[in-house]
């Protein structure tokens, strides 16, 4: 694992009214990391800072040693899946996927083939012409993942995109995320408030509590011997 292929949060300080978060750690390439902590602790804010939507008060976000601050969210080596609104409701599934390739929405023959491949890969074969409103919750998640597959960015951020799904469906989706990540070699950071998700999906876990995002530690070890903040959260 070379120095040039890691995500580094370099003495990052994020502030919002009544809120301050400090983070200073490195995430190794290809790792699957859960971010867990009580609500309001700043899990999503941390993710949004990496995705370029939140400007850090201090510190830097580095990818392969390069400061990401000057880049537009769209130019970052990042794909993010939000809690909801991952698809434009007025566009078809295929069009939503096409936006992952080019903003002109005039896909080439090659693009169309890739979109079909991504749809098939995520179990949505034949649903490209549907509108998001005609899909089930799981299918919407799959479509968002299909676009992540097409974009093939080295960092995949999940801001609880499957929170509204039932346990079985959620596990299915996480398995798909793992497949997609392995296929693209992506580093995954996933926000969750459910210890089971972290244990089932992520080898590493970042605990966010009391204004601090702790460096990632082994998930199994963390839950076996939870620090006070995590113990309080888990109850």
């Amino acid at each position: 694992m070379g120095w040039d292929a890691v995500l580094q949060l370099d003495r990052l300080v994020l502030t919002e009214p009544g809120f301050r978060l400090f983070a200073d750690f490195i995430v190794p390439q290809g790792a699957k990391v859960a971010i867990i902590g009580p609500s309001g602790a700043g899990k999503s804010t941390l993710l949004n800072a990496i995705a370029g939507f939140v400007v850090p008060t201090e510190g830097r976000v580095l990818w392969q040693g390069v400061d990401l601050a000057p880049l537009d969210p769209g130019s970052l080596p990042v794909t993010i899946l939000f809690q909801d609104q991952n698809l434009f409701p007025h566009l078809t599934v295929a069009q939503n996927l096409a936006l992952g390739l080019s903003s002109r929405l005039r896909p080439s023959v090659q693009d169309v083939q890739r979109i079909d491949w991504a749809l098939t890969r995520t179990g949505l074969a034949g649903l490209g012409d549907r509108r998001p409103s005609e899909l089930s919750g799981g299918q919407v998640g799959r479509a968002a993942l299909a676009r992540a597959l097409l974009r093939a960015r080295p960092i995949l951020l999940l801001d609880e995109p499957f929170a509204a799904l039932g346990p079985a469906l959620k596990a299915e989706m996480l398995a798909l995320v793992a497949e997609v990540a392995d296929e693209t070699g992506a580093t995954v950071l996933m926000v969750t408030h459910d210890p089971k998700d972290a244990q089932g999906f992520a080898a590493l876990t970042v605990l966010v509590a009391d204004g601090l995002a702790q460096p990632p530690v082994d998930t199994a070890l963390l839950f076996a011997n939870p620090p006070k903040a995590l113990a309080d959260y888990l109850g």
């Binding site: 939507f53 970052l76 069009q95 992952g100 002109r104």
Partner: protein, 518 residues
């Protein structure tokens, strides 16, 4: 990846629009201020101010007072055609004022249907001219508006509360006191403010139904000062008075103007236990009277209009084409301006607060105030007649800006909150974002706003009266001139054409918006 150059600078666009709006409002105020000089309004000018305020207060009071029983009856009764009636109540807002006035004269004039019916009972014929005529027309326009606002209020009362009060065995009076009265208290002041604002700039109604020097609004006095007496200083001084009234009113009235209930589904019946017995018949009577009051003048226009159609000369077509061009041009201007402002404000661009304030600024001015300012600005250099149409386009665009803006802003805000991050994360910026996200997502309010702007502009008769000579006659002015010569048949024919085309414009744009949005 999108290059920086493909981005659209909405803040810059909004700043240009804002600058234009400020020049056209405060700039024109400054022009009339300079022209008014030391002219001090005379007793008749002050009488116009008093009358303007009086009729606005009375119109607001009457419309609200009468709307309560109508809205209540509609809220708790269900009948065939109820939906159509409620939809029709949105129509007067789009109805060209000159057409409505013509319809009212045909129905309520001394030789009208109502007078004929009254004669059967040995009653003297009605007179429609004077303060009561002005009030009649204003109630005709605003009663439906207030009724719709109140209906929304009734529907906003959670049905659980009606069920609760029923299970508690509350009497009708108790339900009224505890559920309906608080709602009325919160809705009516806003409704009254809206009607007051609309009537403050009443021009066509006073021009046609005023009946004499008594019923002169400030807007009408401005028109007479320029077109009858050619006293620019007096017109300017009156414009300042009108501007002062409008500016004072904006602070009060705009906060509630957004709540006029356009585009809101009002089909649901309120879960109130409708009282039986004689009160059923009272409700039916109220609905019947309200419906007749709205429908008779419209039907009169249609009936006499069809008869007058045969009589319509070529000139009508030319005026129609002109009005179409005016409406479409001003609509494009309004929609582009409102979109730039709304997007800049929704994206919290630099100066967003200023843009938001500027977008409501045109409410402080009226067509005749703007017209006087523009008139005084261009008159030394150009024959005013030559600029009649461009000025009309500009003024119409400016006056409908606040309405279109207020329709777009909440949707633009929601769009920003929901999809800005997704769009940015997909590098969807500039023209591509406008094409694939912004316009399709805003299609509905854009279509509705464009329809509103186009149909208002098509039917407007205001500033054109200051500028127009024989050439450049728009269709509303054409109808007005036919009415001026008391050529009622031909006027009704032209009015019918006018109303059909301005409604068609609304339906066209609104429908386009809906089709894109689905």
């Amino acid at each position: 990846m999108a290059s920086r150059s493909s981005q659209i600078n909405y803040a810059m666009g909004a700043a240009i629009v804002a600058a234009l709006v400020v020049v056209l409002t405060f700039g024109m105020a400054a022009v009339v201020w300079a022209e008014a000089g030391s002219f001090w309004p005379t007793a008749t000018d002050w009488a116009a101010v008093r009358f303007t305020l009086l009729q606005a207060v009375l119109s607001a009071g009457l419309s609200c007072l009468l709307a309560v029983p109508v809205a209540r009856a509609l809220a708790r009764r269900y009948f065939v055609g109820r939906g159509i009636l409620i939809t029709l109540m949105g129509a007067p807002f789009l109805l060209p004022v000159i057409v409505a006035v013509l319809g009212l004269v045909i129905v309520f004039g001394r030789a009208g249907i109502v007078s004929d019916v009254m004669a059967l009972f040995g009653l003297p014929p009605l007179s429609i001219y004077g303060l009561h005529g002005v009030l009649l027309a204003h109630v005709f326009f605003n009663l439906p508006l207030v009724t719709r606002m109140l209906l929304m209020g009734w529907q906003a009362i959670p049905s659980e509360r009606f069920r609760l009060s029923a299970s508690l065995g509350m009497t009708e009076g108790a339900v009224y006191r505890h559920l309906e009265l608080p709602m009325l208290r919160s809705v009516l002041p806003g409704a009254a403010a809206v009607v007051f604002t609309i009537c403050l700039t009443s021009f066509v109604v006073a021009l046609t139904l005023g009946g004499g020097p008594g019923a002169t609004t400030v807007e009408l006095a401005i028109y007479k000062a320029l077109r009858f007496d050619y006293e620019p200083a007096r017109a300017a001084a009156l414009s300042l008075l009108q501007f002062a009234m409008g500016a004072g009113e904006v602070a009060l009235g705009w906060a509630v103007l957004g709540s006029t209930g356009f585009g809101v589904g009002l089909g649901r019946k309120v879960e109130m236990r409708p009282p039986r017995g004689w009160r059923f018949w009272v409700d039916i009577l109220v609905i019947f009277i309200a419906a007749s009051f709205l429908l008779l003048p419209l039907s009169a226009i249609v009936l006499r209009g069809i008869a007058g159609l045969a009589d319509l000369p070529l000139g009508m077509i030319v005026a129609l084409v002109r009005s179409f061009a005016v409406a479409l041009t001003s609509t494009v201007l309004t929609v582009v301006a409102a979109l730039l402002l709304a997007l800049a404000v929704a994206r919290k661009a630099k100066g967003a607060k200023l843009f938001d304030a500027v977008a409501t600024l045109p409410l402080a001015v009226s067509g005749l105030v703007l017209g006087t300012g523009l008139f005084l600005t261009v008159q030394p250099y150009v024959r005013p007649e030559a600029l009649a149409l461009p000025v009309t386009v500009l003024v119409n665009a400016l006056l409908s800006l606040p309405y279109v803006y207020s329709l777009l802003l909440p949707e633009a805000r929601a769009l920003h909150v929901d999809y800005d991050r997704l769009a940015r994360s997909l590098a969807l910026v500039g023209v591509a974002r406008l094409r694939w996200v912004t316009l399709p997502r805003l299609a509905r309010p854009l279509g509705f706003g464009a329809g509103l702007a186009a149909s208002l502009s098509m039917g407007d008769l205001g500033v054109i009266t200051l500028f127009a000579g024989e050439s450049g006659t728009t269709l509303p002015l054409y109808v007005h001139r036919l009415m001026g010569a008391y050529r009622m048949e031909a006027a009704a024919g032209a009015a019918l054409v006018l109303v059909v085309f301005s409604f068609a414009l609304f339906v066209l744009f609104d429908g386009m918006g809906r089709r894109v949005a689905t």
